[in-house]
């Protein structure tokens, strides 16, 4: 099921970095939803496509350890060689990017990013935040409130928040679907570049074929209540 595709900039460190879904069977109230096995190496993006109700989001919920009531799952999940199938969500170090940026309204832009960073001296973290903001073209916006930013700027802050939390993998849940086409293209490029640069395994759920093409990875199409068809 998962054979090819080692990304071009695959390095030695990335060889150990991988997210492996092993024999997953997801059910909704005893009804079979999907079966999946896949290995995603660092810097690779696995794209999951399919209509609503095909279980895309449920799959991401399972990977984050937040499977809703009414769903059940079999199968194992490995991250960098550790079995994390039953580990609590907050200990998994799997970052999430949703279509809504979901920035915390009670914190500033810098506060949102600082929230995500591991504890370290304040000055050090502030310097890291400023650097990161400059890199994505948001230099000087540290103290702004998230609501005062445009949609594209919010999306970039959300990306920085995930990246600076030093995740070991990233899940993208229709991350660009609320952006207009120009912004979508730019943001997508930025997100994918960062994923490759940090050598993170990523799973992206999307409706959009151009997203899937841009990811340049394996694409799995889910049909409703059917076994997956592999492209």
């Amino acid at each position: 099921m998962h054979t090819q595709a080692i990304s071009a900039n695959h390095s030695d460190t990335a060889a150990t970095s991988a997210l492996t879904i092993d024999g997953l069977i997801l059910c909704r109230q005893q009804q079979h939803l999907l079966s999946l096995s896949a290995t995603i190496r660092g810097g690779e993006i696995l794209t999951i496509m399919g209509p609503s109700g095909s279980g895309k989001s449920t799959l991401l919920n399972w990977v984050t350890g937040m499977l809703p009531v009414g769903f059940s799952a079999q199968g194992q999940l490995h991250l960098n060689g550790h079995n994390i199938t039953t580990m609590a969500s907050h200990l998994r170090h799997i970052g999430l990017l949703y279509q809504d940026p979901l920035l915390f309204p009670h914190l500033s832009v810098a506060g949102n990013i600082a929230f995500a960073m591991p504890p370290s001296p304040k000055a050090q973290r502030q310097a890291a935040i400023s650097d990161a903001l400059v890199q994505v073209g948001l230099g000087g916006l540290e103290q702004r409130s998230p609501q005062s930013l445009s949609g594209g700027q919010q999306a970039r802050v959300a990306l920085l928040r995930v990246l600076l939390s030093q995740p070991k993998a990233i899940l993208l849940d229709e991350p660009f679907s609320k952006l207009d086409s120009q912004l979508r293209h730019e943001t997508r490029q930025l997100v994918f570049d960062q994923i490759r640069e940090h050598q993170l395994p990523a799973i992206m759920v999307t409706h959009d074929q151009t997203d899937a093409d841009a990811a340049q990875g394996k694409i799995i199409s889910l049909a409703q209540f059917n076994k997956p068809v592999i492209d």
Partner: protein, 570 residues
């Protein structure tokens, strides 16, 4: 065109003004009726010189500082406890189905009148109550009821227990209401997930991400709870110390004194009560500022775990303890109402009798009918005015102004003890002899805000396209109102009715004061029985107080179902 259709539009146009007048005049008139006597102006006692004698009398009252302090501490501590437990429950069960179960268990507590709740808790902690019975003699070694002062302890711990248990369900349901708002609730839950994915333990994620966004929505309910608690009468009267009592209870006793000159002191006390309530609100505000100031840097310090597991276990214990206290209080009440002989350390009575129910039901015949009549009249008036005012909003296309919204909640925002005495005085001045109407109007002051609160959101959310379709079919506004809106909103209307009835059933002070002793309801009877006479009869009255609103809500839940099924079977 029928008469109703002709009258409908003018009625709709005027109803907001009638509603405002019904709320504004009694409250403002009542305040004036307290301020004037407080300044020494009581023509009935030949006092027409303005002076501050009332206030100096008040300062000279022995224990006045203690009374004020008791009001302040009991209201602040109980609200703080209720708030903390609410937050702990939300934080511990945020992603768990238990949140829903706890909501369903605590929801009914909301409509239990304060007096009934106080009686139940009093029975629980009294020397021969369930707590000491269950602990005796195996744990405590007591063969006779212990010699403690509960439920009338001087520190007001019993008051705090009573207020906390009543305030907690209110705050919790308010918070769950906020989380049930489609946009806000989903966003907060998604942000909680984001925090988990960033490595925050669920407890820390709640405190750092959800609480800062949730709290602003809880501030107003908290202030309402503080206002109520600082000036409430029923709970301190039944669960509080007698000498000295809380300020609000003392004011009530001075007003009822045979010595009419004490009314001046009581009026001055009512003015001080308003200031005391404001002081309590200011204390909360200060506390809030301090917490925000000290907690803000913690939000972004990156710490992800603060002993969440221990806090969660602590919450399990607190929640279980609280549910046990409530359950035990209710069981105790039922046992007392059927108890024959009941020797001390035994947990169950030696014999069960229905004698108390029989004699109580005979006694309560007239109060019961009065209770129902007053509640039905007040609720009918409140529902009619609310529906017409909401309809007026849609006719004019404008929402109620901010001033209008504040006016609706005015009777809940001003301590009722501060204006009700003035209202009684005002009614005496205009020589209103119709006691029944006076009581109904006083109840409307408190029923209306709740009915409006309960109906407004569903009425405003009503899909306007139904009205547009009906209008395009040639229906008049009156026809749309009666034939489309009312039938479609029958569920929320019935719930609002049940709520209105429950609020009216529970009114103690308004009934006592405007009724002038001529009209008694189950609640006024229950309070006067609570501290004397027979604990068994008192238990029956408290249970009746609980059954009436429960019956109302049961009907409100059943009737719309029956109506709609009948409709379709034809």
């Amino acid at each position: 065109m029928s008469t109703i259709a002709k009258l409908f539009n003018p009625m709709v146009r005027f109803s907001p003004f009638i509603m405002m007048a019904l709320l504004l005049f009694p409250v403002l008139g009542g305040l004036i009726g307290v301020i004037l006597p407080a300044l020494g102006w009581i023509p009935a006692l030949d006092q027409t010189q303005f002076n501050l004698n009332g206030f100096s009398q008040l300062w000279q009252t022995p224990g006045i500082g203690h009374m004020a302090l008791l009001s302040i501490t009991t209201s602040l501590v109980s609200t703080l406890l209720a708030f903390i437990i609410t937050i702990l429950i939300l934080a511990s069960y945020f992603t768990s189905p238990w949140l829903g179960y706890i909501q369903r268990l605590l929801g009914p507590i909301l409509v239990i009148p304060h007096a009934a709740a106080a009686i139940a808790i009093g029975f629980l902690i009294t020397p021969s109550g369930m707590v000491s019975r269950l602990a005796s003699p195996w744990l405590s070694g007591w063969d006779a009821p212990p010699d403690w002062l509960y439920p009338h302890d001087a520190l007001g711990l019993s008051i705090i227990l009573g207020l906390t248990l009543k305030e907690l369900p209110f705050l919790l349901l308010m918070a769950l209401g906020v989380l049930a708002q489609p946009d806000l609730g989903q966003t907060l839950r998604a942000q909680h997930k984001v925090a988990l994915s960033l490595g925050y333990c669920p407890m820390t994620a709640f405190f750092k991400v959800v609480l800062p966004s949730l709290y602003p929505h809880l501030r107003l309910p908290i202030l309402a709870v503080l206002t109520y608690a600082s000036a409430s009468v029923e709970i301190p009267l039944i669960l509080g110390p007698n000498n000295p009592p809380t300020l609000a209870v003392a004011i009530m006793q001075w007003f009822h004194d045979v010595d009419l000159s004490l009314r001046i002191k009581a009026s001055a006390g009512a003015i001080v009560q308003i200031q005391l309530t404001l002081l309590v609100l200011a204390c909360w505000w200060l506390l809030e500022r301090l917490v925000i100031k000290f907690a803000k840097p913690l939000l972004t310090n990156g710490e992800r775990e603060y002993g969440g597991v221990i806090i969660q276990q602590f919450t399990h214990v607190i929640t279980a303890l609280m549910l046990a206290v409530i359950g035990l209080a209710l069981v105790g009440l039922v046992l007392w109402s059927f108890a024959g002989f009941w020797y001390f350390p035994d947990a169950l009575p030696q014999q069960f009798v229905i004698l108390h129910w029989q004699s109580a039901l005979q006694q309560m015949h007239t109060p019961l009918i009065d209770t129902l009549l007053i509640a039905l009249c007040a609720t009918a008036l409140a529902i009619t005015l609310t529906l017409l005012t909401l309809e007026a909003e849609q006719h004019s296309g404008k929402s109620l102004s901010l001033l209008g919204s504040v006016l609706i909640y005015l009777p809940l925002l001003i301590p009722s003890i501060a204006f009700l005495f003035g209202l009684v005085w005002l009614l005496e001045q205009i020589n209103s002899q119709h006691t029944f109407i006076n009581v109904v109007l006083a109840h409307v002051l408190f029923v209306l805000p709740y009915v409006f609160l309960s109906l407004a959101s569903s009425y405003r959310r009503f899909d306007p396209r139904f009205s547009i379709v009906a209008a395009s079919l040639g229906a008049s506004k009156a026809k749309i109102f009666f034939r489309i809106k009312l039938p479609m909103l029958i569920g929320p209307i019935f719930i609002a009715c049940a709520l209105g009835l429950a609020i009216s059933f529970s009114q103690y002070l308004p009934t006592l004061l405007t009724g002038g002793g001529r009209i008694n309801t189950i609640t006024t009877e229950a309070v006067s029985l609570a501290n004397g006479g027979s604990r068994r009869i008192s238990a029956v009255y408290a249970l009746m107080q609980m059954m009436l609103p429960a019956l109302g809500f049961l009907l409100a839940w059943l009737l719309p179902k029956l109506i709609s099924t009948n409709h379709y079977q034809k």
